[in-house]
Symmetry: C2
Subunit: 405 residues, 2 copies
């Protein structure tokens, strides 16, 4: 049995070699909560071992975030640090790799008036747009990785003392990041090959749409013209093959912004804006979610008013109900993990790597533009998915939540 | 006797009200080591109480800094995050206040090869230039404040257990920031008035030069034409009256870049670039330090090669040898403090508030331009300072290190 320290070292290796594939002389900009400093140091060590030029951490403090929501008024909450996000976008475009270390109290903002959350997050989304664009255009190699934040662990295991809760959460995270396997890097290479086979299969078929059928769901998701499926390792515009998101269990592509019809119900709660949004229901006409309902969904619903593209889909992703994340049996209340336990959709901005061409050509082909990108889970062990050709013939892709191809 | 927590609250009040004079709706960008998070939170609370729109912390980790110096090669060390510093300059110009929380191991880089430090700090200085310009042009209200970093406390009190060392350092810091006084804010207002009287006296006299005489020192520092003395509270270009540096005990102005003659010896060691530089000796001709020597001075001497203005003076400051900082009897190895225990000079960039006019006019008047600004202490209880008029007559300003005006 390896110690926590040894496994953190392995996780950092997986992050730097598989997730980022960091290059010699490359700068690494990472965002992380202050509680993640032990992992940040491990990652920096692995990065410098690979020849990184500079590891620049941008550390956040949930206590300050919460304090601001509690003490600042609506007008003050409209402020967001555009100068920082434009700087980040520039850093990515000039070659810096990006790592996001994720974790925190999913219910941090639970007592905060929803209008405060909505105002602040709208300003935040607007200011963050240049950075989001750089990431969605895949200008540089990047990845996200979770860490066992104590406040998160306490939410997931309220019955355990904090230290035990953190250890339990780490166990789950090492499992889903394949750090508990004999050779984690080799395990990721094998997994990336399997995702690559699924991607090749789907790209060869050139489906016109997908059809989801399950509890509360009967949804046809048209796919963008010339859409490209992606999954696992992929090549960024800077030429580096990286694995965005650790873990990643999905294959995903771009819906057609004007061809989504039917209704769909979320299969898992979604942690969004410091709230836990439940029972999301959306009905689509001509690509637009003309009706959306959700429990605790104030911030989520407000975000869908951000711009014209916010109520259209920017991503559709297929994940087997038996993925390693799902196998943990945990609802993590962290999208990075929960979206890898179930097929999902995202409202908002589509990814450049899913639709060929310039931003204008992407829109013509049905790609979507928005300053938001919010994933939410719709897949379950009762969900069937078909691929539809333009002539209406169909191919079974998933049955009862599992791949049948 | 107040608890540490209560005194941290008071220190945060002094920082926000006296140091920054933070305005309602103003953004605050602060830099701090991660160990300072408890003070960061206190400052944020005080800032939001004053109506701040956003408190954005940029937290650094000495462990990462040291790791980079140890693991990255010379080529990699040439990288500096220009995107971040240009963003900071933009934030200040767009109205954000600036707070620097200072503290750390003054000997952090002691084992690192000097050429590594020199290369990295040159790249850093070049990248940081836009931010330094914004600060030296005094575009926004700003201040610096120390905190008792454990590694710093261990260096100052190596004979004490860490917790006691930290407490001892806090005692000294509360003393010099006047937090130990009955009403710290009132004490600062009184002190700012006294500094204001000295400033008025010196500005009325319009000296042509200052003359320093002491052990190893016989130096005439010509003053820029139309030079303005500053000290204590001052008005930034955004109209806000703030107190840059907590503590501050100095009155200071701009030397004439071409009129410094004689020799000078440092009176205290200087912590620079993670090294402790001792016995600095400089001989000036026509404003240029034509000869500079120092013990452990590799990074310091290298910095003086940064550009044409780096070997000329950008600041001359008078501080009584009995200042509260000097009274602690401690050598802090932190310029923010040590420069407030002794009269000092700075190589490099002069401050816009010390020379009227546009940047071009400032240079014509003898102001200095450089990407560096490095203070070093020359005053002692044996130092005399005279003010010289253009006709050669002189007025005693300090005798045996104390004001005589």
């Amino acid at each position: 049995m390896k110690t926590l320290d040894e496994r953190l070292t392995l996780l950092a290796e997986v992050v730097v070699r598989v997730g980022l594939n960091l290059q010699p002389r490359q700068e690494l900009v990472l965002t992380a909560p202050i509680e993640a400093v032990p992992l940040v140091r491990k990652v920096a060590e692995a990065a410098y071992r690979r020849g990184a030029s500079l590891v620049l951490p941008l550390l956040s403090d949930d206590a300050l975030t919460l304090m601001r929501y509690q003490m600042a008024d609506l007008e003050a909450l409209k402020k967001a640090p555009a100068w920082l996000y434009e700087g980040l976008a520039r850093a990515y475009r000039e070659g810096a790799a990006r790592l996001g270390i994720r974790g925190g109290d999913p219910r941090l903002l639970e007592g905060v008036p929803p209008e405060k959350i909505a105002v602040a997050q709208e300003a935040q989304a607007e200011a963050y747009r240049p950075a989001l664009e750089a990431i969605s255009q895949f200008v540089t190699n990047w990845t996200l990785v979770p860490f066992a934040h104590p406040a998160w662990a306490r939410r997931l295991f309220p019955e355990l003392p904090e230290e035990e809760a953190v250890n339990r959460l780490w166990e789950a995270l090492f499992q889903v990041t394949r750090v508990d396997q004999e050779d984690p890097v080799a395990a990721w290479e094998a997994h990336n090959r399997r995702l690559g086979e699924l991607v090749r299969y789907l790209n060869e078929r050139r489906f016109h749409a997908l059809h989801f059928r399950g509890p509360g769901t009967d949804l046809t998701v048209g796919l963008a013209e010339g859409h490209v499926w992606q999954g696992g390792a992929a090549q960024a515009q800077n030429g580096v093959v990286c694995t965005p998101n650790l873990p990643t269990e999905e294959v995903f592509t771009a819906p057609h912004r004007a061809r989504v019809e039917g209704y769909v119900t979320s299969s898992k709660p979604l942690a969004y804006g410091g709230q836990v949004v439940e029972e999301i229901f959306a009905r689509f006409e001509g690509g637009v979610a003309v009706e959306v309902r959700a429990k605790n969904g104030e911030a989520f619903l407000k975000a869908l008013e951000a711009d014209e593209g916010a109520r259209r889909l920017g991503e559709v992703a297929l994940v087997p109900a038996s993925s390693p994340v799902a196998k943990t049996g945990l609802l993590f209340l962290e999208t990075l993990l929960d979206e890898n336990a179930a097929s999902h959709l995202a409202f908002g901005q589509s990814y450049a790597e899913n639709v060929p061409g310039s931003p204008e050509e992407q829109v013509q082909r049905g790609g979507n533009q928005s300053k938001i990108h919010i994933d939410w889970m719709i897949g379950s062990p009762d969900t069937d998915v078909d691929g539809l050709y333009e002539d209406g013939t169909r191919v079974a892709l998933m049955r009862r939540g599992e791949w049948v191809i």
